[in-house]
Assembly symmetry: C2
Homo-oligomer: 152 residues x 2
């Protein structure tokens, strides 16, 4: 499987989120070609500001492998991780993150901060952006235009 195939799984998680009225963000964590954790934004459902897709996927993967260290894995996430999630990714020692679109409000990789490029941390995470960008951007646009229609 290539980047696009795994990102399709993250997009499927994001569509589950939007189906539940949540901002559509999804993530999967892959190790040795196997998805070891899946997550989607569940902030409203769980009434928790930390229930972002990346946090949910990290918790699922750690529970699955029985360790908090997610070395030798890759996270695929539809949108740029926020500062909180970028920090969680470093704590989990995930070596590579692939995301689709930039996140204008809280993005912590390139938009509001450059957490993965902070040289003083003891773990480095590589990152790649733009995978399935058009499909994800269209999904986000559909979600927010639906919200505006509901509001008026």
């Amino acid at each position: 499987m290539n980047h696009e195939d795994f990102m399709a799984e993250a997009i499927a998680e994001a569509r589950l989120a939007s189906g539940a009225g949540e901002v559509p963000v999804g993530a999967v964590i892959v190790r040795n070609g196997e998805i070891i954790g899946r997550g989607r934004n569940r902030k409203e459902e769980k009434k928790s500001p930390v229930s972002h897709a990346e946090i949910e996927a990290i918790e699922a993967a750690c529970a699955y492998i029985g360790d908090w260290r997610l070395t030798e894995s890759v996270m695929y996430v539809t949108a740029e991780p926020c500062v909180m999630c970028s920090g969680a990714i470093i704590h989990a020692r995930i070596p590579r993150v692939v995301f689709g679109v930039k996140e204008p409000k809280f993005g912590g990789v390139v938009t509001h901060a450059c957490i993965f490029d902070t040289p003083s941390f003891n773990h480095r995470t590589e990152w790649l952006s733009g995978v399935c960008r058009e499909e994800i951007a269209a999904m986000m646009k559909d979600f927010f235009s639906g919200l505006r229609k509901t509001a008026y």
Copy 2:
């Protein structure tokens, strides 16, 4: 109650953590003089890299009040929040954080990043450091010197 009284509650949580073999960090969230959430580092116990004291306290407080917005509250935490926890505090819209000591490895308030002072975020969190600094520093030193004795 003043800052030192609430920080004493956070220190009590930190001591519970060290008693369980975890790095001693504790936090409480206070609103209208009432502690609405408590948390301690449970990373090893839960095998989760996100189970920091601040995240645990935020989840407890949100569950208690039934909302992810922790406006009009103050977080007391023994050590400087990391980048992840600083991001979580912003997501939870906590307006003020009081901490004891700086965190050399991951501190996200002043040490490795200045998350609360990022002007482009849509929420601002005030912060104050140094409350009960000596007691907390001694507790951390005792914990890590105990670890070194165990290792040799």
